[in-house]
Amino acid sequence: MDTIFNILLNDSIFKAFLNDYYIQVLTMLGIYLIGSLGLNLITGVTGQLSFGHAAFLSIGAYASAITSLKLGMPFPIAILAGGVMASIWGILLGFPTLRLSGDYLGIATLGFGEIVRVVFLNLSITGGALGMAGIPRNSSLTLVIFVVFFTIWAMYRLENSRFGRALVAIREDEIAAEAMGVNITNSKIVAFALGTFFAGVSGGLYAHLLTYLNPSDFGFLKSFEFLTFVVLGGLGSIPGVILGTSILTLAPEFLRFIADYRMMVYGLLMVFMMIVRPRGLLGGVRLSRVFKKKLSQRDKASATGAN
């Protein structure tokens, strides 16, 4: 067991051809990917608007930081604790609010996000406004890549299951889904619990990468950032979410050369990309179908060529 962890926590393979800065950026990208895939399950697949995703990240981050720092638990347990804690709060929030429809749910999650931030700002165990420092730096790129692949696999399995199809049915038409016997409230809550679990795991990895947490890092802007990752890539499309998250996480890094104008360009980029591709970069595109279409076209071309 220990040797497996040692391999996962060791970045020496990557260090051979990447410098520390790239490793840090890529690890961060992986952590964001886990979080945005979680949000994709809630917003993209099930169609429930969530403006408070960063709050679940922060719950996971603080929970795992407290588990490893104050309780002295090993790193994997701390990450799991983060996920479970975020999931519990997801369910607690989900029970009353998932009955709200559409935008009102989004608004309630927005409110929840701000409440969580203010609470963390005032709790003594989280260090309040000073933040929480000295968290062991355990998250490695290898481990994060492993978790990302696990998340992608889990999401694919989930989407193609009976439950996943029920979620898509809820997104497409709640009333029709209900009439077909889908238990709407239960399915939504389970989707919420799973989505927030991944947010919590992502938060736990985040805490153990940066070693320092501050409530102001998880404001509503962070929640919107996640929503943007998902919408810009293409709601409900896993490759889309991966693409969207990658572009928007790496864009500020690439834009560093324009220094102060970076975030201005970033904002304009968001508007521009939305206008050019209103349904997201890969929205409504199924990669497997595109691929099959290409193949059949090639078959047709070769068939006609033979005549």
Binding site: P96, G111, L227, L235, M263, G267, L268, V271, M274, P278
Partner: protein
Amino acid sequence: MLGQQLLNGLTLGATYALIALGYTMVYGIIQLINFAHGEIYMVGAFVGVLMVTVFKQGLVVSLVAAMLTCMIIGVSIERIAYRPLRGSTRLSPLISAIGVSIFLQTLMTKVQGPQPVGFPHVIEDAIYKFGSLEITKVQILILVVASLLMAGLTFIVKYVKIGKAMRAASEDYDAASLMGINVNRVISFTFAIGSSLAAAGGVLVGIYFNSVSPLMGVSAGLKAFCAAVLGGIGSIPGAMLGGIFLGVAETLGIAGGFDLYKDAIAFTLLIVVLLFRPTGLLGRPIQRKV
């Protein structure tokens, strides 16, 4: 003591209400949560500061200039960032709005620097006493200006042709356009009015708290949005009521010893109200149609 707190809350609430009106009117017609609205309020406050310090204008001219500038900005934002996305999914204009909000925020941070600026002295610090109640001249100004603007808005919406068109469009967008209402013009007009009210709110808050900063739009915008939802989003009297309700609740909360949790009061209230009245205090119930 309680009366004094109520008065302070009313003043704060009046400014929330001014911003909330923009959210609610836009949402009523195109169901868009205009997240750039808080930034327009912030830009309005800066235009006010600029008019007083650089152009040496008085209060009234500065206020009107801020309102006009933001009117233009608001309409242009709608033209550039939201109109091309009409008819696409609900989330895409939302993301576009967030993009605009980030842009305006960082632009002002670049131009003005991240530090808050004090609002120059445009009104004397007189305090009037009515029994145990104390009211400052600034508070009177805020209450008077806010009431005048809201009365003007109510008049426009009730009796003027374009206002009636606004109500028609918010009642049923498609039917309104079938009846020959130029819906695009109505939407532009809605953005113009909403943005100018937010700008007025920005100038008034700048004077009241004597501080204007590029980040002031974030929390004020969120709270005003809360106010709009509390009152029932889409409803104009609802936004006024929600704003005042929120202002009073927040002031009483601070007076009651919850000052550390000041920013959470609005949102807690919001969630509680939504649980019992899912469409806000004055909102119409949502009908589910098959």
